[in-house]
Amino acid sequence: MKKITLSLIAASLFSGNLLADEAALQAQIQKLIQRIEQLEQAQGTTQQTQIVLQENQAEIKETQISQGDMLSKVNAQSANDNIKWDIDLRSAFHNINYQYADDAKNRDGSADATHSGQKYSNNSLFTNRLWLGMGSKVNDDLFFNGQVAADYYWGADTSVNHSAMSQDMGWEANSKPHDASLGLRQAYFVYKFGNDWDIPMTFSVGRRAAVDGFLANNREGTQKPGSPLAHITNVEVDGAMMQFNLDKVFLPGSYLKVVYGRSYDTINQNALSTVPYTGTTFPGDDKVDFLVLPMSIYNDGASNLMAEYAMIMNAKGDTVSGTTYGGVAAGTAHYAALSYQLDGLNEDVDFLNDSTVFASVAMTSTNPDSGYTMLGSTDNKTGYSFWAGVLFPDTISDGGRIGIEYNHGSKYWTPMTWAEDSIIGSKVATRGDAYETYWNLPIVGKNLTAQLRYTYINYNYRSSISFMDDPSFKNLDHSQELRAFVRYQY
């Protein structure tokens, strides 16, 4: 009996152990199953990720192929397109007035009974000026600049015969077959060489920018001036230029330009001629060549001192007898100017730091050949001029500036400022006193600007910038212009 009891106890203990092992085993199996499920899920996610990556890769490849095709098209289209364009469009309103002197004289000195004491005005003259700028750059040392231009008044009619209603009428001028004219204002290339030399040089040929030069840029609301001194030079010229950069051997910002060119030529263009492009249209009306030497003496970004000498050969005058009046090579004209501008009067005061002052002195001299007259005289005549101005912030706009200028010219003062941007004639060339004030206003930064300008000229002598006229024969008493414009540049 005792043996049976012990056996039963042993058997129950053994079976209890077996049950415990089975439970543990079951738990382990369960864990393994969970782990396998986790691994299966992870494997599924990895496969999904791989699929997504493959899809993305395919999309990127397609995009690359597409972009490559597009680049090829762009390359094919622009491979030979080497011109960059920019636009300068100005629309202006002008109100102009001329008042003749009570004792006005004609060019020959006789009394001008028709105009004496008369007043002439235009209360609403509107103009548009478009400049299409071109730039082409081979590298930093060889590049081209050009500008085609149209400058006209609204409703312009350049037809010779008004009653014939030709295709020159402003309202159809560019919509009907016409001539092949396109206004070229600038076109020149620049080649720089000797950059490592003590005096690096620049060579340029073409139709040069000799307008809106130093000091005149202020009254035009333009930050960067042309290099000629506007006190004696404001013309469109064709010529060759050599520039010597003296910055390394002389004063900061210094350079000298030597410009030689031709401003007038009346060669015979008659297509029926056996020898076209030879001789002159009128006897004695010889070619007019010029030499201009603009020089920057010192320019440190604040102080800018510039000088210029110029000479015109075969300048137009008259014979002593007066028989060829109207334009004949009569002698030589000389010009000289010294101009200074200071930007920023006091760095510690914002108002003064944004202000500018400038002053300039200049002279012109005529030297008629034997048997000819210039400015109505067979003798050498010298004219003098003074020009000063100040610009300061308007304090009501961001960047707007107000300018005030004064000019004075003596009896024989006759600069070559025929292209000056003044409807009533060059104010710089005034033989008398000129007063001017303007307000340059940025509307959308430098891209859209406006200007309001008033100019008053009081003449002491004849209003003329021709060597053919005698300054003694006064015509106008005074003239004035009110101008307002908006200008888009980009």
Binding site: F93, N95, Q223, P252, G253, G301, G445
Partner: protein, 110 residues
């Protein structure tokens, strides 16, 4: 003054109301470089601006670190780039270096 002159004048005065954008100017920036940095850096403004591409100048300007970028281009100008004077003219200098950056394609006149 005629009525049309008055209208033109009024129109211009009216435009002042729309004068909204700060008038930074690259030409002014060039002058300011010439005045404040040319001698210190020993290089022309054109060479200074061409040290980096437009995107590089842009990125530094937007991040407010243009002075550091300019210091990299001209280490000798470090003191100036950290001065109050620099802060006053930064927008003009930025306009200048942006317009004449290495890849600007800007064509100088002469």
């Amino acid at each position: 003054m005629t009525s049309i002159s008055k209208i033109a004048l009024a129109a211009l005065l009216g435009l002042t109301l729309f004068s909204t954008t700060a008038s930074a100017d690259s030409e002014k920036g060039k002058k300011l470089y010439q005045k404040n940095l040319k001698e210190t850096c020993g290089i022309t403004g054109g060479v200074f601006a061409a040290k980096y591409k437009q995107a590089d100048w842009d990125k530094a300007y937007k991040a407010g670190t243009l002075n550091k970028k300019m210091t990299e281009a001209c280490p000798a100008g470090k003191d100036f780039f950290e001065s109050d004077k620099y802060k006053k003219i930064e927008t003009h200098l930025y306009d200048f270096v942006h317009d004449f950056a290495r890849d600007s394609g800007n064509i100088p006149s002469c």
